[in-house]
């Protein structure tokens, strides 16, 4: 029971808005000590895991390219493209991206799009431009919400597409764990059972995007369609 103290530290630390890196370290130390490890062993375990998961942080090498393109007006260009397209509403744009992201993830192409690669340079400015076209008096808070929905749509598309792909990590994990209990299951079985949820995710998030689109049109500057 005592090892659960790390979870309490995490929850309290995030709620009280301490620096999350400090909270994580405190949680790791407390959990390790509660489990009877000594400090040096905890530091070493943490260091080993940090070194093994470096691939998580290599995405930042795209920043010089994004910085270069943005300096030469990529975001502005993405905006003007959307402004020129008559049918490109906020709802349709994000729903289209949701479908594309789900389809590509289902084909195993998870790292092709993402927050640094596509959302910041392309999807978010396009969504903002579409929202501006629908509502001339978009507030700063609404602008924030539009960007947040662009990022949220990327996540939903990724999570509920990737498990349809046969060789994704989570499917290999499921296969491995069930094998440990003596069940031999083909990866294709897991893939097929991910499809109903993928469809449900598209319908639920798509419906929310429609309502969000309507909400962004309401108000004095909106076209209220």
């Amino acid at each position: 029971m005592l090892v659960l103290i790390g979870i309490l530290i995490i929850i309290a630390g995030f709620l009280l808005r301490f620096n999350p890196l400090l909270v994580i370290m405190a949680s790791a130390l407390a959990t390790g000590l509660a489990a009877g490890l000594d400090v040096a062993a905890i530091v070493a375990a943490f260091g080993k895991a940090f070194n093994d998961t470096r691939y998580v942080s290599i995405i930042w090498i795209v920043l010089p390219v994004i910085g270069l393109l943005e300096a030469y007006g990529l975001q502005q260009h993405a905006r003007s493209l959307i402004a020129r397209m008559k049918g490109a509403t906020l709802g349709r744009l994000l729903t289209g991206y949701l479908l594309l992201r789900q389809a590509m993830s289902a084909a195993g192409l998870t790292s092709v799009a993402g927050h640094a690669q596509t959302v910041r340079p392309l999807v978010a400015p396009m969504a903002e431009a579409a929202a501006e076209a629908q509502n001339r008096r978009l507030t700063d808070d609404q602008r924030e919400e539009v960007k947040a929905y662009a990022a949220a749509t990327d996540n939903v598309g990724l999570f509920f597409g990737e498990d349809i792909f046969l060789a994704i990590g989570s499917i290999l994990l499921m296969k491995g764990v069930l094998e440990g209990y003596g069940y031999q299951i083909e990866p294709l079985n897991f893939s097929l059972w991910a499809i109903p949820t993928a469809i449900a995710a598209f319908l639920i998030h798509g419906l929310r995007l429609r309502r969000f689109d309507k909400r962004m049109r309401a108000g004095p500057g909106g076209d209220g369609q």
């Binding site: 260091g47 895991a49 290599i58 007006g73």
Partner: protein
Amino acid sequence: MITLDHVYQLAGITFALFALLGLYDRSNPKRFGNAAFWGLLAVSMILGDYLGDFGNGLLVLALVAIAGAGQIGRAPGGEIPVEVQVERAAKYGNFLLLVALIIPVVALVGTFLFKEVPGLADPKQATLISLALGVLIALAVGMARLKPPGLLPLQQGRRLLDSVGWAAILPQMLASLGAVFALAGVGDVVGGLIGTAIPQGSLFGAVLAFGLGMALFTMVMGNAFAAFPVMLAAVGMPLLIKQHGGDPAVVAAIGMLAGFCGTLMTPMAANFNLVPAALLELKNPYGVIKAQIGTAVPLLAVNILFIYFFAFKL
């Protein structure tokens, strides 16, 4: 053959250059903290495999100390004025879009190529290696046509990374915390608690506990992969599969997706939820999570019903 090690070296050099440029940025009062932070990350990328576990742990402690002492910050300004951007956008327009698309297209082509043609690159890491190649190609093409001042991509990239700040390593830190949790047996304790909370003999109660447990434990760990073996051992295997005869493929596949609904709702899944908020410069760090809860909650309910019907009633 290109391996992930080469990509780590490329990332290390990039971070080292960010650190160096940051050190000379006199407009930033926290330039020493920034330089030390990105410099240590460069060391981790390039030399991580030679530092030993304890050495890597000390490096992490130093990173945490710098961030915890509030020594990371970004210099004011540095953006290219919007008017200049609009003017340049009119001139270069679709070329910029083309360069932006080089990265995903190379990632796509490389992923297939490296798997089909052995010997060029480690096929297990094909996508990450292709992504890095895409970055290099896009940078070369962009520089050739736009002819910016030589340091501009690095300076602008550094500005973007500084605005993300310490959150840039949050995903890696949380993944490491998960490893310590696993070592301490946190999962077994949580699984045991949830196992005792289920009403005896109720199939729907057990399905509900499994689905909710996957989502809740994923929220705590920030990762459905950590929750899955624990919840399967505590509820999925003994109750759903063994006692009630549920289809193991359905229980596992949809249970994992119930966990993913939890991922949408937790700051612990920093790379999906907090990092984009920083990258998009949102005022509310939880803005992305807020936008996702309305999708995650109904989808979790749907997943629980799917397990109930597909694993037992079909």
